[in-house]
């Protein structure tokens, strides 16, 4: 393999970037700060340039479904392509700011149609919360019993009626939240810190190649 196709040039780039960013973070006030802000801006710009890849992927999938006449799906794929086309044309033809200006087609579609995806998620979660309470939160041993115990008391802490049944419910629920919950969150955050450090170490010696689009 030619040297320029190996992983080493990529590692050199990675080392240069991490040096700039760490240096400007730990020694603020040098000219590295400018390099840092330029890099952050680069990252935003590159992310925006890449965005069309997603649209291409979805379009390819839909076109494939239409071509194959996938049963029960191909007319929906046409509908999807149509929606994409309308949104794009309106978004570009009606000028900058059209996605947020009332009165444009793209804004109308978003605020009266696509936006309800959020509400759909909320709705399904609201229903699933109770089936999860019924099926998943079962005490089989001491560990799962503690899980149910914790859920029970915080539930009664939050329920407007909990405090009226017994004044102790909110107190216990509050304690669970302010001592064990916070403690476990802290410990897990420490664990994540350790994980990121080890991941970064592996990354910068060229062992984590997935980030460059390579596999072992």
């Amino acid at each position: 393999m030619a040297w320029y196709r190996s992983i080493y040039p990529l590692l050199v780039i990675a080392w240069a970037i991490v040096f700039i960013i760490l240096f400007s973070y730990y020694c603020p006030g040098t000219s590295f700060d400018i390099a840092y802000s330029i890099l952050v801006r680069w990252s935003i710009i590159m992310g925006s340039v890449v965005i069309a890849v997603g649209l291409i992927n979805i379009t390819i999938n839909s076109v494939r479904e239409v071509k194959k006449r996938a049963p029960g799906r191909w007319h929906l794929a046409i509908w999807q392509l149509l929606l994409i086309a309308i949104t794009l044309i309106s978004g570009f033809a009606q000028g900058k700011g059209s996605p947020t200006t009332p009165g444009t087609i793209i804004n109308w579609l978003f605020s009266n149609f696509y936006r309800y995806g959020d509400l759909a998620i909320f709705a399904l979660m609201g229903f699933w919360m109770l089936t999860a309470a019924f099926r998943a939160f079962r005490a089989r041993n001491l560990e799962t019993f503690l899980f149910v115990f914790g859920a029970f008391f915080t539930l009664l802490r939050n329920a407007p009626i909990g405090g009226l049944i017994w004044r102790g419910f909110p107190v216990i629920g509050q304690w669970l939240l302010s001592v064990p919950y916070i403690a476990v969150q802290r410990a897990l955050l420490i664990g994540i810190g350790v994980g990121i450090l080890t991941y970064a170490a592996r990354y910068f010696i060229g062992k984590e190649k997935a980030a460059f689009g390579r596999v072992e």
């Binding site: 959020d118 609201g126 109770l130 019924f134 009664l156 009626i161 939240l177």
Partner: protein, 278 residues
């Protein structure tokens, strides 16, 4: 029985929808216990009455969370308007759609209460930056951060802003955001003005983010619709929507508890059966 076992999930879904909706048709007016946290929030604002000081409300509210934030914001702002000789300064930060939402809320409030814009309350210019830098700018030089209010009037022409030069001129600072930005107040604003009284408004799910700061940074907080309902009950406000929704929420929680207990009983019976079988 076989039907019930097969469709147990669907039955739960339907029960769940009924529990939340039925109270709109048949208000139950289930009693609500007023928590100490709500009372603390209330007392803090109440202590401002007659001092002539202003309350600063910094808010950043994305529209997805407005459904939940509306009730707490409504309660707090209504209380401030009802207090005698207390002014209100609002500052929108980061999430631009929040401006329109809070404006519509103010429209609901000031008309019946006979308050004048620019004298009793004002909304200052929108700060588009992230929350941390915006708070830092306000802390360093409050006056210089804002040239105009949200309507474009220069800040010097507003009577309400005459005696306000730094953050110290406010009586209370309320920070309203759904969840994640709360730590930035503790990190940025609190070290520079440690003597100021801070209050928090957030979603119920955002409690995790203010919990570490309650008591040391924030004097009190309002989170979730139930606290809004408690608040309304506390000062006898005329507003009932939060109250009404609270009935549904109570029912939903009772249903949740029932499911938890029922599921555990069934699970326990299965374990016993297995042991008996083997």
């Amino acid at each position: 029985m076989a039907f019930a076992q097969k469709n147990i999930r669907r039955i739960i879904y339907i029960l769940c929808a009924i529990s939340l909706v039925i109270t709109f048709f048949l208000p139950l007016n289930l009693p609500i216990a007023i928590s100490d946290e709500t009372r603390k929030f209330y007392d803090t604002l109440e202590s401002l009455e007659g001092t002539g000081k202003a309350v600063l409300v910094i808010f950043t509210i994305p529209p997805a969370f407005w459904g939940e934030m509306y009730h707490t914001m409504f309660s707090a702002l209504q209380h401030i308007f009802l207090l005698k000789d207390v002014k209100l300064v609002l500052v929108p930060v980061f999430a631009a759609p929040g401006v329109g939402l809070v404006n519509s809320l103010l429209r609901e409030l000031y008309n019946p209460l006979n308050k004048t814009y620019g004298v009793d309350y004002v909304m200052l210019q929108f700060i588009p930056s992230m929350v941390g830098p915006a708070l830092a700018a306000m802390a360093d030089n409050f006056r210089a951060t804002f040239q105009t209010d949200i309507r474009g009037t220069p800040i010097d022409k507003l009577p309400i802003m005459e005696n306000i030069n730094t953050l110290d001129d406010f009586g209370v600072v309320i920070f309203a955001c759904p969840a994640k930005e709360h730590p930035s107040l503790a990190v940025v604003l609190y070290p520079r003005y440690p003597k100021m009284t801070y209050l928090a408004i957030c979603m119920a799910g955002g409690y995790m983010f203010i919990a570490p700061y309650l008591g040391n940074v924030y004097k009190a907080g309002l989170w979730g619709i139930t606290m809004a309902a408690e608040y309304q009950q506390l000062f006898g406000g005329p507003y009932t929507a939060a109250r009404q929704q609270c009935d549904g929420i109570s029912l939903y929680h009772i249903l949740g508890l029932l499911m938890l207990v029922l599921g555990n009983i069934i699970g326990f019976r299965e374990i016993v059966k297995k042991k008996g079988g083997s």
